[in-house]
Symmetry: C2
Subunit: 597 residues, 2 copies
């Protein structure tokens, strides 16, 4: 049986039964939509993912793009499938009709994309990056820039990138040193080196639009002197595209996402690299964060998708592969059993399942908050949704990366020695997953963001809103008949997180910022456990309140209940232990000196 | 600075100051030895590891052995270094003088090997497997077999393998189906297919001796009908070596250990594969377990070594790489700091350090128990050491594999985006590490072994002995002035494990074996946390009772104290949480049905 990537009914269950995404169609922005258009969007992506993208995945992993005479040549399979990928229109799916978009809710675009990501992360990467770049131009660019460089991306004719990172600066965008010198025509001449630019060059489209962070001559030091520029590979001059002095300085040999090249790019080596300011001077970082926050949620979806495809590989293997006998019936005259009969194999599968399902529900919920933050009718609803979105973004980005990597390693483990070979897909999926804890802000940076900014912003309004959401989920769960031991554990965990946050925040207010932030990664982890427990509670509730229409439904709902039991029973004790470590302020790594490591 | 693989003074500290390995020289078996011979053994391995094996590691990862006309051709670098590797004499280091050995304690051989493993797991693999094979012949083989097939291995002229696994049977050795048909000359004709045979063919030596599990015609089903055979690649006929009908059926494309081929082998396709029985008929599994138990400790050392070399890569990177500024001093006019200044980077380094140091001490201790079990003067001491060895073997095998993989992933994470590239060593080390949770019994199998056999064997004598050892370590720690909060936590954790074990064992005695074993992998994990906490307690004690002779000593000892604080403070709460899950018998994955996954 071919890998389903996601189980369709499960995805629908999360979308419609748990998160009630059809309620979004009551908003003016989405009024033209209904279940038919949602399903059609998802179905077209699903079909392409299963039929075309997944079969191309392994060939693309085996043979990464090549650098030939300074240009990147992609895999022929990718070249062949790209027109169909572009034709899905996902780059413009959420955008307003005014720019040619379909005004779909993000959750629909995200869940459609999930199939593409699960099938072939690299192939999806090209359009994901392009969508972010074009959206920046849409929001911050001049009319002229939008017409010249956004429209071709939205039409699927060009692609785009984010060009933030520089070799000497890494994650520290305050240290961006690429320069932008004003030119008489109102544009700028860009000069600088960028690294880790995904899709920074390729032969899929005739042009690539880079969104580049650089410093206008004389700009202040630090993040407040960084501006955003539109810097195409080929610039428009009259009715021609001419070379814009963006050169490939090197190909980075990545260990995963091998169908999508990661490049070092040199801008303006010949002094002829034209860039156009996007938004206000020195406000580039604020603009870039729009893209980055969207990107973080998509990275979260990458993580869930990569764990999901591996989970389905492992599940199929465990159902098919016979080996050994149960601990309780070891008679060698009996035939060996499918390994799914072994309790520890089921543990590994249920753990993967709980991570995937919890992650999917979280990403979906975060996408809904993103839409409500922009399009809810009431300003108070918009503000509340924004607070929840901001709070959940670091979790949505990091939980699937970290626990997804664990899930991917378990998928290898279920395959035994065979999982350690390139004959099976699980090893390359594990390699793919590792990037998600690194790009778009490492896990450590997400922890700093969550504890240092998000939970303390607006007097803790986001955390208060989360508490209300979880209280409401608990109320609904009790009403639906979910066991009190599960519901009570989740509400108790929320109280633990609130109390811990108060302790840490007062440490910070008392001047001990280093002490407050010392366990920020542990805090992120325990926060993630809570947030995922909430998703499982919501899914267990929906599984009880939705009428099954088939045996498959009944199995799905029983499985949801058991995922919830597993996660809540086994992970909340870990949350409690982590909270105690954070509270006690265990400070071994604060005190250790470099020479003692 | 070149990677040290292990820090020499640290290894000495564990060997001499913590584990007091020189006390072994009081035993008759090791009476010829002293610190000089111990150090010389380690130093010669260390020098070869750093100077020759490590530089060959990446080339060997990049270009795995090739299959040419049915024979495996290894990397030229390996071919060139093999004579020096063989000349170290580690294959025969622990063996008795009667067979040409040096009668060294295993801990010395193991710690010397640790450098080789850290530098180049694959290169070490050849001699590690050969040692196991030859030792089986030494213990169970006839005089004729020993003279013919053991001696050349001990002399470094030939190599050997373990050929257990069959495609249809995997970990389930009860299902071995290779056949052995008695021949008139007293030998057997072997026929069958084996898979995942590491070093199963190569051009390093003129012959390879396979230790093969097979079933004599008419043998009973299950493990009680499996016999062990010596099956050389080329058999001795007169003064010639003739082809023995062992063919390479395929090369497995492994994702790590890429310098050591893993093969599918076909025995006896032409009906001319001669094998000689080793030990008693149908008792092959018992014999093989001698080799497997030694192999499991060596796999543990593989895991520690692979985590150690990666830790030193990450440490060097974190000291060198500048990026960003501390949370408490973000002025962009200040220069960026080395990333080791960031608390979360130090967390990741200290975590790796604690895993590596705890693992090294555990492997060393286990190796000492192995020698005491064989060579202690008093029978009671031998019995007690055997009980502790048996109890600790599954932990020594699995802890470095599981937590080592986490440590290796953290080493990648410390490198940021650079860690995701093949320009740095950390990614291939992470790939290498993954095998250790799979071969020589998966982690799940180690959990079944620990809870199902080891802790309940002999009325729980091993666990009782462990409790006594930990009580003694606590007494010594208190006497040395280690903080009571650390000592008390470890003794409380031991009590938790004893109480939990009693609960689980009585569940089993009451007939609920499935319930007892349901959380065997969680039990293994929490048991490992305790055992490693014990090692840290012992090292913290030794760090207080050993007189420092240099600033480097003082830094090492301070670092030991902080490793102990970190591990005990952050991991024992996890042990408590896991114990509660095991005790409560959370049964979600017992109840879930395949169709609900």
């Amino acid at each position: 049986m071919a890998n389903p990537l996601f189980r369709d009914r499960d995805l629908e269950f999360v979308l419609y039964d748990t998160l009630r995404a059809l309620e979004l169609t009551r908003l003016a922005q989405f009024a033209e939509h209904d279940r038919g258009s949602f399903d059609m969007t998802i179905e077209s992506a699903r079909r392409l993912a299963r039929g075309v993208l997944l079969p191309a995945y392994k060939p693309m992993d085996d043979e990464p793009p090549r650098l030939v005479d300074g240009s990147v040549i992609v895999h022929p399979r990718l070249k062949a499938l790209y027109p169909e990928l572009a034709a899905l229109g996902l780059v413009v799916a959420t955008r307003p009709a005014a720019v040619g978009g379909h005004q779909l809710p993000r959750i629909v675009q995200t869940f459609a994309s999930a199939y593409l990501m699960a099938a072939n992360l690299s192939a999806y990467g090209y359009i994901g990056l392009a969508a972010g770049a074009a959206h920046l131009l849409e929001t911050f660019g001049s009319d002229a820039l939008r017409a010249s460089y956004m429209v071709p991306i939205y039409e699927g004719r060009w692609l785009g990138t984010m060009a933030l990172t520089e070799p000497q600066a890494g994650s520290s965008l305050a240290d961006v040193s690429s320069r932008a010198t004003p030119a008489p025509d109102g544009s700028y001449r860009i000069a600088g080196a960028k690294i880790f630019i995904s899709g920074g060059d390729h032969d899929l489209t005739e042009n690539i639009v880079h969104m580049v962070l650089a410093r206008i001559d004389g700009a202040p030091a630090g993040t407040r002197g960084v501006s955003l520029f539109c810097v195409p590979k080929r610039r428009i001059e009259g009715d021609r595209l001419v070379d814009n002095d963006v050169a490939v300085a090197g190909v980075i040999h990545k260990i995963g996402w091998r169908g999508l090249p990661s490049l070092a790019l040199a801008f303006g080596d010949r002094g002829d690299c034209h860039g156009w300011l996007v938004g206000q001077p020195h406000r580039g970082l604020a603009a870039m964060f729009q893209m980055m926050n969207e990107a973080r949620i998509m990275v979260g979806m990458n993580g869930v998708a990569t764990a999901s495809v591996a989970y389905h590989e492992a599940l199929a293997y465990a159902l098919d592969r016979t080996q050994g006998r149960p601990e309780t019936a070891k008679d060698p005259a009996l035939p060996p059993v499918p390994i799914i009969e072994h309790a520890d194999v089921r543990r590994m599968l249920l753990r993967q399942k709980a991570i995937v399902e919890g992650g999917l529900c979280l990403i979906g919920r975060t996408a809904i908050y993103a839409d409500l933050a922009e399009f809810a009718a009431e300003p108070t609803a918009r503000i509340r949704a924004r607070q929840l979105l901001d709070l959940l973004t670091p979790v949505a980005k990091s939980f699937p990366a970290e626990r997804g990597f664990e899930a991917n390693a378990l998928a290898v483990q279920v395959h035994g020695g065979y999982g350690y070979t390139s004959e099976y897909l699980v090893e390359s999926l594990m390699r793919d997953q590792k990037l998600n804890s690194l790009h778009e802000g490492t896990t450590g940076i997400q922890g700093l963001d969550l504890l240092g900014r998000k939970v303390v912003a607006d007097g803790g309004a986001g955390l208060t809103a989360l508490g209300e959401e979880i209280a409401e989920a608990a109320r609904a769960a009790r009403e639906a008949g979910v066991e009190e031991r599960l519901v009570g554990s989740v509400t108790a965990a929320m109280a633990t997180v609130q109390a811990l946050t108060a302790v840490l925040a007062s440490k910070g207010l008392a001047g001990d910022v280093a002490g407050m932030m010392l366990h920020s990664t542990d805090y992120l982890e325990l926060f993630g456990i809570l947030v995922i427990a909430w998703q499982h509670l919501a899914m267990a509730t929906a599984a009880r309140t939705t009428a099954p229409t088939s045996d498959a439904d009944r199995a799905l709902f029983a499985g949801k209940q058991l995922s919830a039991e597993y996660w809540i029973s086994t992970e909340l004790p870990r949350l409690t232990a982590l909270a105690e470590i954070c509270r006690a302020g265990e400070d071994s790594y604060a005190r250790i000196r470099p020479g003692e490591l």
